[in-house]
């Protein structure tokens, strides 16, 4: 079964190339607006999704956005990066079938929620938003999209390990399927040629410590965002909250319980503003 799961990664469609191209262009300071507009409009599905999300209160534009040109001009660079990543990622979440969640929308909602939470925490501990963190947080559970059918078939076995033997859900996946959803997500990120930091954020989002001495903060922040979303009930599905709490994730950033509670309040407000983003899947 493990071999079959790993082989399936090769047949996953490429991540929309236009997203990579947009990222390259957008981070050049001297880009020409019409070039960027043309590049985005080249992909119809991304264009449609951007237009659906652009007027969301979450992105906070004071101008009504009706065209991609408006979006490029009024959203601001950071928001534009986030919205393009979101539009590009969403296509992979439409056909989630069983396993972790009964509706595709639930896994998408969790993914967007973790992305939003990651920026709340980034503001708090890094004093800035972070597009690499956003991408890793948004796609942290991409492994679940493709592991879902195997988890569905093995659910009683995994749940027995969790309920009876003190396994986390992740450890249960690994024991029964030979691979867990974070590890598989890392392979998919590799298949998509994602930058190293994004891939690590996905692959280590439950076990940031396993990254060893490397000093990337992204896996820790994705981890923390994911745990907080589970606690608020915006969860990833049947696995519920059956994951390990790592105290180090707080001490590392000098965060206290009260900081987490405050972040949850901020997050809750933002999630309500992001309804249009949730609704694209």
């Amino acid at each position: 079964m493990l071999e079959k799961i790993i082989q399936s990664v090769d047949s996953i469609p490429a991540f929309p190339l236009v997203v990579h191209k947009i990222m390259l262009l957008i981070t050049r300071e001297d880009y020409v607006v019409t070039d960027l507009v043309k590049l985005i409009e080249y992909d119809q599905s991304i264009t449609a999704n951007i237009l659906k999300m652009s007027n969301s209160a979450y992105f906070g534009s004071r101008h009504k956005i009706k065209t991609i040109h408006d979006a490029v001009v009024y959203l601001g660079q950071q928001n534009l990066i986030h919205i393009v990543q979101t539009a590009g990622a969403s296509r992979f979440y439409r056909k989630v079938s069983g396993g972790y969640v009964s509706h595709a929308h639930d896994l998408w909602k969790h993914s967007v929620a973790v992305a939003i939470m990651s920026q709340v925490l980034a503001q708090k501990v890094l004093q800035r938003v972070d597009p690499t963190l956003y991408a890793a947080a948004l796609l942290h559970d991409i492994g679940k999209v493709f592991l879902g059918e195997y988890v569905r078939d093995s659910l009683p076995k995994i749940e027995e390990l969790v309920e009876q033997n003190g396994y986390s859900f992740l450890e249960g996946e690994k024991e029964i399927l030979g691979i867990d959803h974070a590890e598989l997500g890392g392979m998919i990120a590799l298949h998509w040629n994602f930058p190293e930091e994004t891939r690590e954020g996905i692959a280590y989002h439950h076990q940031p410590r396993s990254l060893g001495s490397k000093e990337s903060l992204i896996p820790w922040l994705v981890y923390l965002s994911d745990q907080l979303c589970m606690m608020v009930g915006v969860d990833g599905g049947v696995d519920g909250l059956a994951y390990r709490g790592l105290e180090e994730s707080l001490t590392r950033f000098n965060l206290r319980g009260k900081d987490l509670e405050k972040s949850i309040i901020t997050f809750h407000d933002l999630l309500l503003e992001a309804e249009d983003v949730l609704n694209i899947v």
């Binding site: 749940e159 986390s168 745990q227 589970m230 606690m231 608020v232 009930g233 915006v234 969860d235 599905g237 049947v238 696995d239 519920g240 909250l241 059956a242 994951y243 390990r244 709490g245 790592l246 105290e247 707080l250 965060l255 206290r256 319980g257 009260k258 987490l260 509670e261 405050k262 949850i264 309040i265 809750h268």
Partner: protein
């Protein structure tokens, strides 16, 4: 027959027999249902955090976000619809935690403790509960009968 959805940090009341109050996705949050079988009045609260001193301004606008502002509001609102304290049946669910819930992550546990303190101070008995552990819950209160059912994220449905 209508399902009335109670969002996170929200409460809803009802006295129409064919309605059901329902709240989804109780993780570490707590759902409290109260029901007066004589007046056929019920309420359901979904609070998120234990203590409103964390953000007094927020508590004013959204009292159902916190245990100490949400619980009194739930009871008072039901009294206004004709419920009486001595007849109220109180059932609670939620307060789940992640595994090895170290002292830092204990929002679920803090939510449970805050609720127990408030009930103890006000002489309120909990009739039934399904709290703790590490799964999400959906909670429903049928206003015709006062029946409360809990569905866990692993799909098990039970009446409490």
């Amino acid at each position: 027959m209508a399902d009335i959805i109670v969002s996170i940090a929200d409460l809803k009341l009802g006295n129409r027999a064919d309605d059901t109050l329902i709240t989804f996705a109780l993780g570490s949050c707590i759902g409290i249902s109260i029901y007066d079988p004589q007046a056929k009045v019920g309420g359901l609260l979904h609070y998120m955090l234990p203590d409103s001193t964390l953000d007094a301004q927020k508590a004013q606008g959204q009292p159902a976000m916190f245990a100490d502002t949400g619980i009194p509001l739930l009871f008072k609102s039901c009294y206004r619809l004709g419920a009486e304290k001595k007849r109220l049946i109180v059932k609670v669910a939620g307060g789940a935690s992640i595994l090895d819930d170290a002292q830092f992550f204990r929002i679920g546990q803090k939510n449970i403790t805050a609720m127990r303190k408030i009930f103890w101070k006000n002489n309120v008995m909990i009739e039934a509960e399904d709290t703790g552990l590490n799964h999400n819950r959906t909670m429903r209160l049928e206003l015709a009968t006062g029946k409360v059912t809990i569905k866990s994220s692993i799909g098990i449905i039970k009446e409490i």
